[in-house]
Each structure stands twice: as structure tokens, then as C-alpha cells.
């Protein structure tokens, strides 16, 4: 790994200032960035650790919204969001393994936007709002393709606010070697309609399956999806599964999510 300068600011302002320097990059829990740096796919000159920044950690709930600080670990969300937003907590509790969950953060996961990551489906499926040091970004505008987001270079995710649905569920079909989702579906039922977000399947990263949303908004039952098929042409194909297989999994996991939504 190439060397770099390590800085640990304690306020958002200091962190923003540190990120202005050439070659500076934010460090969350490091559970994606460190392996990437070991492979020299990233070689920052300065790493700005966010874990010491005040006011960016923890879970709070009020008025039907759960807000998660940008450096909150997956383990904290699994524990602290369990009563306010059980489907979100369950998703966090299935990420990777315990050691990964003790370090990895929601901000890092959403900034990275891995096409097989879990959190992007919860953010898009819940219609979350992603707050940064500059603005609030609606999840519908935030995800812009595989590893692509609306974030600017020096933008920091400070918190993520999730409207809490009446019922929701995340169903992950595990890719057991990587521990990511081979395909995962987040279904959320709101008074105004149902949202369905799919991860691990598309070459464009997380996406909403609008046909399923329409069918489920009329009738929230797994059977309402029986005649729906999703086109496989833009799906990921790799040694773990073909495009057709992933398209099939999207249907299966969506039906399971509807059946288990609570």
C-alpha cells in the first residue's frame, strides 16, 4: 500500500477543510477502502478519518423518521434501530460478518455504492434523504449507477434519514464467499404506495422495480407478482450467476420480502 498522511479531525468543518487538499479522501470504517488500497486501486495522499467527527454517530427516531449518523457502524444500526425500524436493523445485521459490522459505516457504504451492497437498497427502498456537509439529496437522485453517486469529491455524508414504512423487509440471497448480496430486494409499504429496490442484480447498481411497485401498491400480496417477469438484459452476469438467474432471483426475493414484511 502506498503511504499517506493520516488525519483525524473532530468537526465536520475541519474534515471538509482537510478534504480540500489534493489527493485527500475520506475514511469511514475502512472495510472497503483498506482492501482497495492494499490492491493499489486507491492511493490517497491524505486520509481523513471521519470516526472522530462529533455529531456524526448514532441512531435517533422521531415523527416517523429514523436518522442514522454517517459514521454509525452496521453493528450499531442493527442494535439501535431494532425497535424503530426493524427491517433496516435486520439488513444492517446481515452485512458481512461481526468484525466488518463493528467497523463498517452507513456513510461509507452509501458513498461506495457497490452494486451488490445492502444499504443502497434500504435507502432507495425507503425513499431516504442523504444529508451531506453541503445539502440533502433524495435517494432517487443519489444513486447514479455502479459505484456512482451524486456526491462531489469533497462531500461528506453526515447522516441519512429514513421515513419509516408501515411494513418492510430486506431479503438477501447471500453470495457466501464475498458475503455481499448475490441479489437482494428491499420492499417498503407506505400509506401512499409500495417501493421495491433491488441490489446485486443490475449493471447500473441499485434500482427500483417500478412494475412490482405498481402491482404491490394495488394489492400487497406476493401473489400480485405472479405474472411479473423482469427483463434480464441489463443484469449482472458473473461466475456466481447468469443474467437469467439474477432476473429470476429478483422475482423470488421480492415475493419473499412481501411475505415477510412486518
Amino acid at each position: 500500500m502506498n503511504n499517506f498522511e493520516f488525519v483525524k479531525p473532530s468537526t465536520v468543518e475541519e474534515a471538509s477543510a482537510a478534504l480540500q487538499s489534493e489527493g485527500a479522501q475520506a475514511l469511514g470504517g475502512g472495510q472497503t477502502l483498506l482492501p482497495t488500497m492494499k490492491q493499489r486501486l486507491a492511493s490517497p495522499e491524505t486520509l481523513v478519518s471521519l470516526t472522530g467527527v462529533e455529531g456524526m454517530v448514532g441512531v435517533s427516531a422521531s415523527d416517523g423518521t429514523v436518522t442514522v449518523g454517517g459514521t454509525t457502524t452496521h453493528a450499531q444500526v442493527a442494535a439501535e434501530a431494532a425497535s424503530a425500524y426493524p427491517a433496516l436493523a435486520a439488513l444492517a445485521g446481515q452485512i458481512g460478518d461481526p468484525a466488518v459490522r463493528n467497523r463498517g459505516t452507513i456513510g461509507g457504504s452509501l458513498a461506495n455504492n457497490d452494486p451488490a451492497a445492502c444499504y443502497p437498497s434500504a435507502a432507495l427502498g425507503s425513499g431516504a434523504s442523504i444529508s451531506t456537509n453541503k445539502r440533502n439529496i433524495a435517494a432517487d437522485d443519489y444513486f447514479q449507477g455502479m459505484f456512482e453517486t451524486a456526491l462531489e469529491e469533497d462531500e461528506i455524508i453526515t447522516s441519512v434519514s429514513f421515513p419509516v414504512p408501515e411494513a418492510a423487509s430486506y431479503q438477501k440471497f447471500l453470495q457466501p464467499a464475498s458475503r455481499f448480496a448475490l441479489t437482494g430486494v428491499f420492499v417498503a409499504k407506505f400509506p401512499g404506495g409500495v417501493r421495491v429496490a433491488v441490489t446485486g442484480a443490475s449493471n447500473n447498481g441499485v434500482f427500483r422495480w417500478t412494475e412490482a411497485e405498481e402491482a404491490l401498491s394495488k394489492e400487497f400480496r406476493a401473489d400480485a407478482l405472479m405474472d411479473l417477469r423482469i427483463n434480464h438484459l441489463n443484469m449482472i452476469s458473473d461466475l456466481h450467476g447468469s443474467q437469467e438467474y439474477r432476473a429470476h432471483l429478483v422475482g423470488v426475493m421480492t415475493r419473499r420480502a412481501v411475505e415477510s414484511a412486518s
Partner: protein, 161 residues
């Protein structure tokens, strides 16, 4: 280089670290604590698990500088004060929970973290908790049995999943 200080197995220790020095390298190369093993480059094997401020983490996936000021527990601190094996280590020996021993430090540290959170785990909970610890030798059954024993439970002949 900067100086990094942490409390390791209850004792203050310090040493030099570059920005890029991993906690695992700091423990092994700077402090000579080679009980923490490094089995992969991809954060997947868990041989390097230590506790930082009481939480199991992969020491290969954290910089030493991030642990500055932290309490770190490694396999070297697990034995009882008189040097005898602690209850988890003894159970690994009694139930043949190791063969080559490469994964064992990480397995024992993960098991210790599990039993702190959940003192009487079920077999399924043990298997779930060990998802980030890979063993090339044992096939896991005897590791699971060792942890059941260490938690004071009866040890059935566990069947393959």
C-alpha cells in the same frame, strides 16, 4: 512516522507507525506480538481478529493510527493470570477445535467476543457469528463444539448443516 500508543492486554505499549501501518503489522512487526495471524489480503479470513475497545475487529483492516489511545486485546492476553489456558482455549484443546492452528487466534478472539455478547449461544448462533472466520482444516464442527463447551453447555455430536 508518528508515535502510536495503546493499551494492549492491559499494558501501555507504544511504537512507531506510518499512516499506512496496519494494526496487524503494528502488533506483529513493531511490538513482536505474532499471535495475531494474517491469512489474507482481502479482509475475509478473520485470522487477524483482535478486540479494539471491546469489539471484535479485523486488525488487518484498520490502521494502527486509528487505534491510537484504544484498549486492544489480543490472543497473547487470553490465558489466565497463572499462564494456564482460559476456558475457551482449553475447550479448543479438549474438543480438537484446531489442527494447524493458523485460524485459531482469530477463532478464539471471535468466540470471546460472542460469549461476551451472548453467554449461552445456540449452535446456529455460533455458526452465524463465526461467518468471518475461515478455517482450512477442521470443517468447523469441533470449533462449534468447543464454543458450546466453553459456554458451559452440553456438547452434542453436531451434524453437518
Amino acid at each position: 512516522m508518528t508515535k502510536v500508543t495503546m493499551t494492549i492486554n492491559g499494558k501501555p505499549r507504544s511504537g512507531d507507525a506510518e499512516g499506512r501501518t496496519l494494526l496487524s503489522s503494528f502488533l506483529r512487526d513493531e511490538l513482536g506480538l505474532t499471535g495475531t495471524h494474517v491469512g489474507c489480503d482481502t479482509s475475509q479470513c478473520g485470522a487477524c481478529v483482535v478486540h479494539v475497545n471491546g469489539k471484535a475487529v479485523k486488525s488487518c483492516t484498520m490502521f494502527a493510527a486509528e487505534a491510537d489511545g484504544a484498549e486492544v486485546d489480543t490472543i497473547e492476553g487470553q490465558a489466565n493470570a497463572d499462564g494456564s489456558l482460559n476456558v475457551i482455549q482449553q475447550a479448543f484443546q479438549d474438543y480438537h477445535g484446531l489442527q494447524c492452528g493458523f485460524c485459531t487466534p482469530g477463532m478464539v478472539m471471535s468466540a470471546a467476543a460472542l460469549l461476551k455478547e451472548n453467554p449461552i449461544p445456540s449452535e446456529a448462533e455460533i455458526r452465524h457469528y463465526l461467518e468471518g472466520n475461515i478455517c482450512r482444516c477442521t470443517g468447523y464442527h469441533n470449533i462449534v463444539r468447543a464454543i458450546l463447551a466453553a459456554s458451559g453447555q452440553d456438547v452434542p455430536a453436531v451434524a453437518a448443516e
